[in-house]
Protein backbone atom coordinates (compact mmCIF):
# COMPACT_ATOMS: atom_id res chain seq x y z
CA UNK A 1 0.00 0.00 0.00
CA UNK A 2 1.30 3.48 -0.87
CA UNK A 3 1.85 6.01 1.86
CA UNK A 4 3.07 9.46 2.74
CA UNK A 5 6.85 9.72 2.66
CA UNK A 6 8.92 11.78 5.08
CA UNK A 7 12.08 12.55 3.18
CA UNK A 8 15.13 14.06 4.87
CA UNK A 9 16.80 16.99 3.16
CA UNK A 10 20.46 16.28 2.58
CA UNK A 11 21.34 19.22 0.37
CA UNK A 12 19.57 22.53 -0.24
CA UNK A 13 21.12 25.36 -2.20
CA UNK A 14 20.10 28.42 -4.19
CA UNK A 15 21.38 27.74 -7.71
CA UNK A 16 20.12 30.99 -9.26
CA UNK A 17 18.13 33.91 -7.85
CA UNK A 18 14.99 32.41 -6.24
CA UNK A 19 15.77 29.02 -7.74
CA UNK A 20 16.60 26.15 -5.41
CA UNK A 21 17.98 22.65 -5.64
CA UNK A 22 16.89 20.23 -2.94
CA UNK A 23 18.31 16.73 -2.58
CA UNK A 24 16.24 14.34 -0.51
CA UNK A 25 16.84 10.95 0.95
CA UNK A 26 13.71 9.15 -0.20
CA UNK A 27 14.26 5.46 -0.75
CA UNK A 28 10.58 4.56 -1.15
CA UNK A 29 10.07 7.08 -3.91
CA UNK A 30 13.36 6.46 -5.67
CA UNK A 31 12.53 2.76 -5.93
CA UNK A 32 9.61 3.36 -8.24
CA UNK A 33 10.19 6.83 -9.72
CA UNK A 34 10.15 7.26 -13.47
CA UNK A 35 11.40 10.16 -15.52
CA UNK A 36 8.84 12.94 -15.90
CA UNK A 37 6.92 12.05 -12.77
CA UNK A 38 6.44 14.43 -9.86
CA UNK A 39 5.97 14.47 -6.12
CA UNK A 40 3.28 16.35 -4.19
CA UNK A 41 5.09 18.08 -1.39
CA UNK A 42 3.80 19.78 1.76
CA UNK A 43 5.09 23.30 2.26
CA UNK A 44 4.25 24.49 5.75
CA UNK A 45 3.23 28.08 6.41
CA UNK A 46 0.34 29.51 8.42
CA UNK A 47 -2.93 28.26 6.99
CA UNK A 48 -1.28 25.91 4.48
CA UNK A 49 -3.15 22.83 3.44
CA UNK A 50 -2.59 21.50 -0.07
CA UNK A 51 0.67 19.96 -1.23
CA UNK A 52 2.55 21.42 -4.21
CA UNK A 53 3.50 19.41 -7.29
CA UNK A 54 7.24 19.50 -8.05
CA UNK A 55 8.83 17.45 -10.81
CA UNK A 56 11.52 14.95 -10.14
CA UNK A 57 14.74 16.42 -11.53
CA UNK A 58 17.11 13.57 -10.81
CA UNK A 59 16.81 10.08 -9.40
CA UNK A 60 19.87 8.45 -7.87
CA UNK A 61 19.16 4.79 -7.11
CA UNK A 62 22.67 4.30 -5.80
CA UNK A 63 22.27 6.72 -2.90
CA UNK A 64 18.46 6.58 -2.84
CA UNK A 65 18.25 10.30 -3.39
CA UNK A 66 15.82 12.44 -5.27
CA UNK A 67 16.72 15.88 -6.59
CA UNK A 68 14.13 18.61 -6.99
CA UNK A 69 14.75 22.02 -8.53
CA UNK A 70 12.15 24.66 -7.91
CA UNK A 71 11.48 28.35 -8.25
CA UNK A 72 10.11 30.50 -5.42
CA UNK A 73 6.79 31.79 -6.72
CA UNK A 74 4.39 32.09 -3.81
CA UNK A 75 3.89 31.14 -0.18
CA UNK A 76 4.42 27.42 -0.67
CA UNK A 77 7.71 27.50 -2.51
CA UNK A 78 8.86 30.34 -0.24
CA UNK A 79 8.27 28.16 2.83
CA UNK A 80 9.99 25.24 1.14
CA UNK A 81 13.04 27.37 0.43
CA UNK A 82 13.38 28.12 4.14
CA UNK A 83 13.67 24.49 5.16
CA UNK A 84 17.02 23.33 6.45
CA UNK A 85 19.25 20.39 5.71
CA UNK A 86 18.31 17.66 8.18
CA UNK A 87 14.63 18.55 8.28
CA UNK A 88 12.01 16.19 6.90
CA UNK A 89 9.71 17.01 4.03
CA UNK A 90 6.30 15.35 3.86
CA UNK A 91 5.27 14.23 0.38
CA UNK A 92 3.53 11.64 -1.71
CA UNK A 93 4.84 10.24 -4.95
CA UNK A 94 6.01 9.38 -7.46
CA UNK A 95 2.92 10.63 -9.28
CA UNK A 96 1.81 10.97 -12.89
CA UNK A 97 2.71 9.07 -16.04
CA UNK A 98 6.16 10.40 -16.93
CA UNK A 99 7.84 10.65 -20.34
CA UNK A 100 7.62 7.74 -22.74
CA UNK A 101 11.02 6.80 -24.20
CA UNK A 102 10.58 4.67 -27.33
CA UNK A 103 12.98 1.74 -27.55
CA UNK A 104 14.07 2.57 -31.08
CA UNK A 105 14.40 6.35 -30.81
CA UNK A 106 17.98 7.46 -31.44
CA UNK A 107 17.69 11.15 -32.15
CA UNK A 108 16.06 13.29 -29.47
CA UNK A 109 15.11 16.92 -29.16
CA UNK A 110 14.60 18.12 -25.61
CA UNK A 111 13.05 21.54 -25.04
CA UNK A 112 12.81 23.31 -21.72
CA UNK A 113 11.56 26.71 -20.66
CA UNK A 114 12.49 28.25 -17.30
CA UNK A 115 11.42 26.16 -14.39
CA UNK A 116 10.23 23.54 -16.89
CA UNK A 117 13.86 22.56 -17.33
CA UNK A 118 14.53 20.38 -14.26
CA UNK A 119 12.48 17.27 -15.17
CA UNK A 120 14.33 17.10 -18.47
CA UNK A 121 17.61 16.40 -16.69
CA UNK A 122 16.72 12.88 -15.61
CA UNK A 123 15.28 12.39 -19.07
CA UNK A 124 18.56 13.26 -20.76
CA UNK A 125 20.38 10.90 -18.39
CA UNK A 126 18.17 8.08 -19.58
CA UNK A 127 18.05 8.84 -23.32
CA UNK A 128 20.33 6.97 -25.67
CA UNK A 129 21.68 8.29 -28.97
CA UNK A 130 21.94 11.87 -30.18
CA UNK A 131 20.47 14.39 -27.75
CA UNK A 132 20.03 18.08 -28.41
CA UNK A 133 18.73 20.24 -25.58
CA UNK A 134 17.18 23.64 -26.24
CA UNK A 135 16.63 25.80 -23.21
CA UNK A 136 15.01 29.20 -22.81
CA UNK A 137 15.19 31.44 -19.75
CA UNK A 138 14.29 34.97 -18.80
CA UNK A 139 17.82 35.73 -17.62
CA UNK A 140 19.48 33.08 -15.43
CA UNK A 141 20.04 29.71 -17.13
CA UNK A 142 20.12 26.71 -14.82
CA UNK A 143 21.50 23.17 -15.10
CA UNK A 144 23.25 23.83 -18.44
CA UNK A 145 26.56 22.28 -17.35
CA UNK A 146 24.79 19.23 -15.96
CA UNK A 147 23.00 18.62 -19.24
CA UNK A 148 26.35 18.76 -20.99
CA UNK A 149 27.87 16.42 -18.46
CA UNK A 150 25.22 13.87 -19.39
CA UNK A 151 26.31 14.06 -23.03
CA UNK A 152 23.77 16.44 -24.57
CA UNK A 153 24.46 19.30 -26.93
CA UNK A 154 22.91 22.30 -25.22
CA UNK A 155 21.63 25.48 -26.88
CA UNK A 156 20.53 28.35 -24.67
CA UNK A 157 18.39 31.42 -25.28
CA UNK A 158 17.71 34.18 -22.76
CA UNK A 159 15.19 36.92 -23.15
CA UNK A 160 17.66 39.58 -22.06
CA UNK A 161 20.47 38.07 -24.14
CA UNK A 162 22.73 37.81 -21.09
CA UNK A 163 23.61 34.21 -21.94
CA UNK A 164 23.37 32.43 -25.30
CA UNK A 165 21.09 33.75 -28.02
CA UNK A 166 18.83 36.71 -27.25
CA UNK A 167 15.26 35.58 -27.69
CA UNK A 168 13.16 32.60 -26.78
CA UNK A 169 13.69 28.92 -27.17
CA UNK A 170 11.67 28.77 -30.39
CA UNK A 171 14.11 31.18 -32.03
CA UNK A 172 17.07 28.83 -31.54
CA UNK A 173 14.98 25.79 -32.29
CA UNK A 174 13.64 27.05 -35.61
CA UNK A 175 17.07 28.04 -36.73
CA UNK A 176 18.22 24.46 -36.66
CA UNK A 177 15.59 22.69 -38.81
CA UNK A 178 16.59 19.50 -37.12
CA UNK A 179 14.71 16.30 -37.84
CA UNK A 180 14.51 13.80 -34.95
CA UNK A 181 12.64 10.76 -33.63
CA UNK A 182 11.03 12.39 -30.64
CA UNK A 183 10.54 15.74 -28.96
CA UNK A 184 10.21 16.02 -25.18
CA UNK A 185 9.30 19.37 -23.68
CA UNK A 186 8.37 21.09 -20.49
CA UNK A 187 7.81 24.77 -19.80
CA UNK A 188 5.16 27.49 -19.90
CA UNK A 189 1.98 26.69 -21.81
CA UNK A 190 2.69 29.28 -24.49
CA UNK A 191 6.04 27.65 -25.21
CA UNK A 192 4.53 24.17 -25.29
CA UNK A 193 1.94 25.37 -27.76
CA UNK A 194 4.65 26.75 -30.01
CA UNK A 195 6.53 23.46 -29.70
CA UNK A 196 3.34 21.59 -30.62
CA UNK A 197 2.89 23.67 -33.77
CA UNK A 198 6.52 23.31 -34.79
CA UNK A 199 6.46 19.56 -34.13
CA UNK A 200 3.39 19.21 -36.33
CA UNK A 201 5.13 21.12 -39.14
CA UNK A 202 8.24 18.99 -38.79
CA UNK A 203 6.15 15.86 -38.44
CA UNK A 204 7.94 14.79 -35.29
CA UNK A 205 6.01 13.25 -32.41
CA UNK A 206 6.20 15.49 -29.36
CA UNK A 207 5.53 14.96 -25.68
CA UNK A 208 4.60 17.97 -23.56
CA UNK A 209 4.59 18.09 -19.78
CA UNK A 210 1.65 20.24 -18.65
CA UNK A 211 1.00 22.17 -15.45
CA UNK A 212 -2.22 22.83 -13.60
CA UNK A 213 -3.25 23.78 -10.07
CA UNK A 214 -3.79 20.60 -8.15
CA UNK A 215 -5.42 19.33 -5.00
CA UNK A 216 -5.17 15.54 -4.56
CA UNK A 217 -2.41 14.90 -7.12
CA UNK A 218 -3.56 11.30 -7.62
CA UNK A 219 -6.56 11.62 -9.94
CA UNK A 220 -9.42 11.61 -7.44
CA UNK A 221 -10.65 15.22 -7.31
CA UNK A 222 -10.66 16.05 -11.05
CA UNK A 223 -9.27 19.46 -10.13
CA UNK A 224 -6.35 19.65 -12.55
CA UNK A 225 -7.83 19.19 -15.97
CA UNK A 226 -6.41 19.74 -19.41
CA UNK A 227 -8.68 19.89 -22.46
CA UNK A 228 -7.82 17.08 -24.86
CA UNK A 229 -9.16 15.69 -28.11
CA UNK A 230 -11.07 12.45 -28.13
CA UNK A 231 -9.59 10.09 -30.66
CA UNK A 232 -12.82 8.61 -31.99
CA UNK A 233 -14.66 11.82 -32.93
CA UNK A 234 -14.72 15.58 -32.96
CA UNK A 235 -15.58 15.68 -29.31
CA UNK A 236 -13.20 16.61 -26.49
CA UNK A 237 -12.68 15.63 -22.89
CA UNK A 238 -11.05 16.96 -19.73
CA UNK A 239 -8.11 14.79 -18.74
CA UNK A 240 -6.41 14.94 -15.36
CA UNK A 241 -2.92 16.43 -15.50
CA UNK A 242 -1.90 14.60 -12.33
CA UNK A 243 -2.98 11.11 -13.37
CA UNK A 244 -3.44 11.03 -17.15
CA UNK A 245 -0.46 13.42 -17.45
CA UNK A 246 1.50 15.48 -16.71
CA UNK A 247 2.94 14.31 -20.03
CA UNK A 248 0.58 14.43 -23.02
CA UNK A 249 1.09 14.06 -26.75
CA UNK A 250 1.31 17.53 -28.22
CA UNK A 251 -1.38 16.74 -30.83
CA UNK A 252 -3.76 15.49 -28.15
CA UNK A 253 -3.95 18.78 -26.26
CA UNK A 254 -6.50 21.44 -27.22
CA UNK A 255 -4.33 24.54 -27.11
CA UNK A 256 -6.48 27.43 -28.27
CA UNK A 257 -8.54 27.74 -25.10
Amino acid sequence: MKSTCYARIIEHIEIAPDMYKMVLSAEEIVKSAKVGQFVNIHCKYPGSLLPRPISICEIDPEFNTLTLVYAVLGKGTKALSQMMVGEEVEMIGPLGNGFMIPEDAKDHIVIGGGIGTPPLLELVKQLKGNIEVYLGFRCHPILVKTFEKYGAKVYVATEDGSVGTKGNVMDILKERKHKADMIYSCGPKSMLWAVAKWAAEQEIKAQVSMEERMACGIGACVGCTCKTKKKQDQDWQNKRVCKDGPVFWSDEVIWDD
Binding site: M1, C216, I218, V222, T225
Partner: protein, 302 residues
Protein backbone atom coordinates in the same frame (compact mmCIF):
# COMPACT_ATOMS: atom_id res chain seq x y z
CA UNK B 1 -8.65 -2.44 25.94
CA UNK B 2 -12.39 -1.97 25.92
CA UNK B 3 -14.16 -3.48 22.99
CA UNK B 4 -15.90 -0.62 21.22
CA UNK B 5 -18.76 -0.94 18.82
CA UNK B 6 -18.46 1.55 16.01
CA UNK B 7 -21.44 0.30 14.03
CA UNK B 8 -24.04 2.84 13.01
CA UNK B 9 -27.32 2.56 11.22
CA UNK B 10 -28.09 5.11 8.54
CA UNK B 11 -31.61 4.92 7.15
CA UNK B 12 -31.78 1.17 7.68
CA UNK B 13 -28.32 0.41 6.34
CA UNK B 14 -25.75 -0.78 8.84
CA UNK B 15 -22.25 0.63 8.44
CA UNK B 16 -19.30 -0.97 10.23
CA UNK B 17 -18.27 2.48 11.39
CA UNK B 18 -19.58 6.03 10.88
CA UNK B 19 -16.76 7.19 8.62
CA UNK B 20 -17.37 7.68 4.93
CA UNK B 21 -15.83 9.70 2.15
CA UNK B 22 -17.31 13.03 1.10
CA UNK B 23 -18.64 12.99 -2.42
CA UNK B 24 -16.31 14.36 -5.07
CA UNK B 25 -13.18 14.08 -2.97
CA UNK B 26 -12.58 10.36 -3.36
CA UNK B 27 -13.56 9.64 -6.96
CA UNK B 28 -15.07 6.17 -6.89
CA UNK B 29 -12.39 4.97 -4.54
CA UNK B 30 -9.99 3.62 -7.14
CA UNK B 31 -7.20 6.17 -6.61
CA UNK B 32 -7.32 6.28 -2.82
CA UNK B 33 -7.62 2.51 -2.81
CA UNK B 34 -3.87 2.52 -3.36
CA UNK B 35 -3.40 4.33 -0.04
CA UNK B 36 -6.15 2.95 2.17
CA UNK B 37 -7.85 -0.38 2.58
CA UNK B 38 -11.36 0.38 1.39
CA UNK B 39 -12.66 -2.53 3.43
CA UNK B 40 -12.11 -0.43 6.52
CA UNK B 41 -14.44 2.38 5.52
CA UNK B 42 -18.02 2.67 6.76
CA UNK B 43 -19.05 3.66 3.25
CA UNK B 44 -17.66 5.10 0.06
CA UNK B 45 -19.71 8.05 -1.16
CA UNK B 46 -18.84 8.39 -4.81
CA UNK B 47 -18.51 11.60 -6.77
CA UNK B 48 -21.70 13.09 -8.15
CA UNK B 49 -23.12 11.21 -11.14
CA UNK B 50 -25.52 12.73 -13.63
CA UNK B 51 -27.79 11.33 -16.29
CA UNK B 52 -25.34 12.23 -19.06
CA UNK B 53 -21.55 12.80 -18.94
CA UNK B 54 -20.73 16.34 -17.74
CA UNK B 55 -17.53 18.05 -18.86
CA UNK B 56 -17.32 20.39 -15.87
CA UNK B 57 -15.77 23.85 -15.71
CA UNK B 58 -12.61 25.26 -17.28
CA UNK B 59 -9.26 25.22 -15.43
CA UNK B 60 -7.93 26.42 -13.02
CA UNK B 61 -10.42 24.68 -10.81
CA UNK B 62 -8.51 24.69 -7.53
CA UNK B 63 -7.39 27.48 -5.19
CA UNK B 64 -5.93 27.21 -1.73
CA UNK B 65 -7.15 29.55 0.98
CA UNK B 66 -6.23 29.91 4.66
CA UNK B 67 -7.07 26.53 6.13
CA UNK B 68 -9.34 25.73 3.22
CA UNK B 69 -9.66 25.40 -0.52
CA UNK B 70 -11.95 26.34 -3.36
CA UNK B 71 -12.97 24.06 -6.19
CA UNK B 72 -14.90 24.65 -9.36
CA UNK B 73 -14.84 21.15 -10.77
CA UNK B 74 -18.42 21.72 -11.86
CA UNK B 75 -19.43 18.13 -11.23
CA UNK B 76 -17.45 16.69 -14.11
CA UNK B 77 -18.51 13.04 -14.35
CA UNK B 78 -18.77 10.32 -16.96
CA UNK B 79 -22.52 9.81 -16.48
CA UNK B 80 -24.51 7.19 -14.64
CA UNK B 81 -24.24 4.50 -17.33
CA UNK B 82 -20.46 4.40 -17.22
CA UNK B 83 -20.66 4.61 -13.45
CA UNK B 84 -22.88 1.54 -13.25
CA UNK B 85 -20.74 -0.36 -15.66
CA UNK B 86 -17.30 0.41 -14.24
CA UNK B 87 -17.44 1.74 -10.72
CA UNK B 88 -20.02 -0.44 -9.01
CA UNK B 89 -18.23 -3.70 -9.88
CA UNK B 90 -14.97 -2.15 -8.69
CA UNK B 91 -16.43 -1.05 -5.35
CA UNK B 92 -18.31 -4.30 -4.79
CA UNK B 93 -14.96 -6.08 -4.48
CA UNK B 94 -14.73 -4.43 -1.09
CA UNK B 95 -16.68 -4.97 2.08
CA UNK B 96 -18.00 -1.44 2.39
CA UNK B 97 -21.28 0.30 1.64
CA UNK B 98 -21.79 2.24 -1.58
CA UNK B 99 -23.53 5.58 -1.47
CA UNK B 100 -24.16 7.24 -4.81
CA UNK B 101 -24.20 11.02 -4.96
CA UNK B 102 -26.61 12.28 -7.60
CA UNK B 103 -26.36 15.48 -9.61
CA UNK B 104 -28.95 17.04 -11.88
CA UNK B 105 -30.08 20.25 -13.53
CA UNK B 106 -33.77 19.48 -13.49
CA UNK B 107 -36.05 17.29 -11.38
CA UNK B 108 -36.33 14.97 -14.37
CA UNK B 109 -32.53 14.67 -14.51
CA UNK B 110 -32.36 13.55 -10.92
CA UNK B 111 -35.20 11.07 -11.37
CA UNK B 112 -33.60 9.62 -14.46
CA UNK B 113 -30.35 8.85 -12.60
CA UNK B 114 -32.23 7.36 -9.67
CA UNK B 115 -34.29 5.15 -11.95
CA UNK B 116 -31.17 3.85 -13.68
CA UNK B 117 -29.69 3.06 -10.27
CA UNK B 118 -32.84 1.18 -9.25
CA UNK B 119 -31.49 -2.17 -10.31
CA UNK B 120 -27.90 -1.38 -9.49
CA UNK B 121 -26.19 -2.85 -6.48
CA UNK B 122 -25.83 0.27 -4.36
CA UNK B 123 -26.81 0.81 -0.72
CA UNK B 124 -27.89 4.43 -0.41
CA UNK B 125 -28.58 7.43 -2.58
CA UNK B 126 -27.36 10.92 -1.70
CA UNK B 127 -29.19 13.66 -3.55
CA UNK B 128 -26.96 16.69 -4.14
CA UNK B 129 -29.38 19.61 -4.25
CA UNK B 130 -26.66 22.26 -4.41
CA UNK B 131 -27.05 22.22 -8.18
CA UNK B 132 -28.67 25.09 -10.07
CA UNK B 133 -32.21 24.38 -11.22
CA UNK B 134 -32.11 25.37 -14.86
CA UNK B 135 -35.89 25.48 -15.05
CA UNK B 136 -36.01 28.01 -12.22
CA UNK B 137 -33.56 30.48 -13.74
CA UNK B 138 -30.52 28.74 -12.30
CA UNK B 139 -31.45 29.23 -8.65
CA UNK B 140 -29.90 26.50 -6.53
CA UNK B 141 -32.45 23.81 -5.64
CA UNK B 142 -31.24 23.66 -2.09
CA UNK B 143 -31.88 27.29 -1.18
CA UNK B 144 -35.65 27.18 -1.29
CA UNK B 145 -37.78 24.95 0.96
CA UNK B 146 -40.49 24.52 -1.70
CA UNK B 147 -38.04 23.33 -4.34
CA UNK B 148 -36.33 21.09 -1.77
CA UNK B 149 -39.57 19.39 -0.87
CA UNK B 150 -40.59 19.09 -4.50
CA UNK B 151 -37.38 17.53 -5.74
CA UNK B 152 -37.13 15.21 -2.73
CA UNK B 153 -40.69 14.01 -3.23
CA UNK B 154 -40.21 13.37 -6.92
CA UNK B 155 -36.97 11.46 -6.41
CA UNK B 156 -38.28 9.51 -3.42
CA UNK B 157 -41.15 8.27 -5.55
CA UNK B 158 -38.77 6.54 -8.00
CA UNK B 159 -36.00 5.61 -5.60
CA UNK B 160 -35.49 1.96 -4.74
CA UNK B 161 -32.76 2.65 -2.13
CA UNK B 162 -33.07 4.83 0.96
CA UNK B 163 -32.65 8.50 0.10
CA UNK B 164 -30.34 10.95 1.81
CA UNK B 165 -30.67 14.60 0.87
CA UNK B 166 -27.47 16.66 0.97
CA UNK B 167 -27.96 20.30 1.90
CA UNK B 168 -26.12 23.41 0.83
CA UNK B 169 -24.99 25.70 3.66
CA UNK B 170 -25.50 28.83 1.57
CA UNK B 171 -28.84 29.65 3.14
CA UNK B 172 -30.15 32.07 5.74
CA UNK B 173 -31.67 29.35 7.88
CA UNK B 174 -30.85 25.66 7.43
CA UNK B 175 -33.70 24.39 9.60
CA UNK B 176 -36.66 24.97 7.25
CA UNK B 177 -34.59 23.49 4.42
CA UNK B 178 -33.89 20.33 6.40
CA UNK B 179 -37.53 20.09 7.43
CA UNK B 180 -38.61 20.44 3.81
CA UNK B 181 -36.34 17.56 2.82
CA UNK B 182 -37.83 15.40 5.55
CA UNK B 183 -41.33 16.45 4.54
CA UNK B 184 -40.46 15.38 1.01
CA UNK B 185 -39.54 11.93 2.27
CA UNK B 186 -35.81 12.07 2.94
CA UNK B 187 -34.59 9.09 4.95
CA UNK B 188 -31.53 11.01 6.07
CA UNK B 189 -29.85 14.39 5.74
CA UNK B 190 -26.25 15.04 4.94
CA UNK B 191 -24.58 18.39 5.38
CA UNK B 192 -22.76 20.55 4.64
CA UNK B 193 -21.91 20.89 1.01
CA UNK B 194 -19.37 23.62 0.17
CA UNK B 195 -19.81 27.30 1.01
CA UNK B 196 -19.62 29.69 -1.90
CA UNK B 197 -16.24 31.43 -1.93
CA UNK B 198 -13.74 33.32 -4.02
CA UNK B 199 -10.00 33.97 -4.17
CA UNK B 200 -8.08 36.51 -6.20
CA UNK B 201 -4.58 36.43 -7.68
CA UNK B 202 -3.38 39.96 -6.89
CA UNK B 203 -0.47 39.71 -9.29
CA UNK B 204 -2.55 38.69 -12.28
CA UNK B 205 -5.50 40.75 -10.95
CA UNK B 206 -7.88 37.96 -11.80
CA UNK B 207 -9.93 35.46 -9.83
CA UNK B 208 -7.85 32.33 -9.29
CA UNK B 209 -10.66 30.09 -10.48
CA UNK B 210 -11.56 30.29 -14.16
CA UNK B 211 -15.15 30.05 -12.97
CA UNK B 212 -14.62 33.10 -10.63
CA UNK B 213 -16.43 31.58 -7.63
CA UNK B 214 -16.20 28.07 -6.25
CA UNK B 215 -17.03 25.68 -3.48
CA UNK B 216 -15.20 26.36 -0.24
CA UNK B 217 -14.24 23.36 1.89
CA UNK B 218 -11.70 22.18 4.42
CA UNK B 219 -10.99 22.73 8.12
CA UNK B 220 -11.70 26.45 7.78
CA UNK B 221 -15.44 25.79 7.37
CA UNK B 222 -15.87 23.39 10.28
CA UNK B 223 -17.52 25.89 12.68
CA UNK B 224 -20.28 26.57 10.15
CA UNK B 225 -20.76 22.87 9.45
CA UNK B 226 -20.90 21.96 13.11
CA UNK B 227 -23.39 24.70 13.83
CA UNK B 228 -25.69 23.54 11.03
CA UNK B 229 -25.49 19.88 12.03
CA UNK B 230 -26.37 20.90 15.58
CA UNK B 231 -29.31 23.00 14.40
CA UNK B 232 -30.64 20.31 12.08
CA UNK B 233 -30.16 17.50 14.60
CA UNK B 234 -32.37 19.42 17.00
CA UNK B 235 -35.04 19.93 14.37
CA UNK B 236 -35.50 16.65 12.51
CA UNK B 237 -35.71 12.97 13.44
CA UNK B 238 -33.85 11.34 10.55
CA UNK B 239 -30.18 10.32 10.78
CA UNK B 240 -27.62 12.94 9.85
CA UNK B 241 -24.31 12.58 8.06
CA UNK B 242 -22.09 15.45 9.13
CA UNK B 243 -19.19 16.83 7.17
CA UNK B 244 -17.20 19.98 6.59
CA UNK B 245 -13.57 20.24 7.59
CA UNK B 246 -13.15 16.91 9.33
CA UNK B 247 -9.41 16.21 9.56
CA UNK B 248 -9.11 14.07 12.67
CA UNK B 249 -11.03 11.73 14.94
CA UNK B 250 -11.52 14.63 17.36
CA UNK B 251 -13.22 16.65 14.63
CA UNK B 252 -15.49 13.70 13.86
CA UNK B 253 -16.40 13.33 17.53
CA UNK B 254 -17.47 16.99 17.56
CA UNK B 255 -19.93 16.20 14.77
CA UNK B 256 -21.24 13.13 16.56
CA UNK B 257 -21.71 15.12 19.77
CA UNK B 258 -23.57 17.70 17.71
CA UNK B 259 -25.93 14.96 16.58
CA UNK B 260 -24.48 13.25 13.51
CA UNK B 261 -24.88 9.50 13.01
CA UNK B 262 -22.30 9.35 10.25
CA UNK B 263 -19.40 11.58 9.27
CA UNK B 264 -17.72 12.18 5.95
CA UNK B 265 -14.12 13.10 5.24
CA UNK B 266 -13.56 15.31 2.20
CA UNK B 267 -10.78 17.82 1.69
CA UNK B 268 -8.66 16.06 4.32
CA UNK B 269 -8.04 13.25 1.83
CA UNK B 270 -6.11 15.66 -0.38
CA UNK B 271 -3.85 16.60 2.49
CA UNK B 272 -3.41 13.15 3.93
CA UNK B 273 -4.44 10.22 1.73
CA UNK B 274 -4.98 8.12 4.85
CA UNK B 275 -7.23 10.70 6.52
CA UNK B 276 -10.27 8.41 6.55
CA UNK B 277 -8.37 5.71 8.43
CA UNK B 278 -6.88 8.23 10.85
CA UNK B 279 -10.40 9.50 11.57
CA UNK B 280 -11.68 5.96 12.22
CA UNK B 281 -8.77 5.25 14.56
CA UNK B 282 -9.22 8.62 16.27
CA UNK B 283 -12.88 7.96 17.02
CA UNK B 284 -12.00 4.51 18.30
CA UNK B 285 -9.31 5.96 20.56
CA UNK B 286 -11.76 8.47 21.97
CA UNK B 287 -14.32 5.75 22.66
CA UNK B 288 -11.70 3.69 24.44
CA UNK B 289 -10.43 6.65 26.45
CA UNK B 290 -13.89 7.40 27.77
CA UNK B 291 -15.19 3.80 27.82
CA UNK B 292 -17.91 4.53 25.31
CA UNK B 293 -19.29 1.22 24.09
CA UNK B 294 -21.63 2.52 21.43
CA UNK B 295 -21.67 5.90 19.72
CA UNK B 296 -25.37 6.17 20.60
CA UNK B 297 -24.25 7.01 24.13
CA UNK B 298 -22.78 10.32 23.06
CA UNK B 299 -24.64 11.21 19.87
CA UNK B 300 -26.31 14.60 20.18
CA UNK B 301 -25.52 14.60 23.89
CA UNK B 302 -24.43 18.22 24.31
Amino acid sequence: MTKVNMKVNIAGVELKNPVMTASGTFGSGREYGEYVDLNQLGAVVVKGVANEPWKGNPSPRIAETYGGMLNSVGLQNPGVDEFIEKDIPFLRQYNTKIIVNIAGRTIEDYCEVVKKLGDADVDLLELNISCPNVKAGGVCFGTDPFMVEEVTKAVKKVAKQPLIVKLTPNVTDIVPIAKAAVAGGADGISLINTLLGMAIDIHKRKPILANVMGGFSGPAIKPVALRMVYQVANAVDVPIIGMGGIMTGEDAVEFILAGASGVAVGTANFINPRATIDVIEGIQGYMEQYSIKDLKEIRGSL
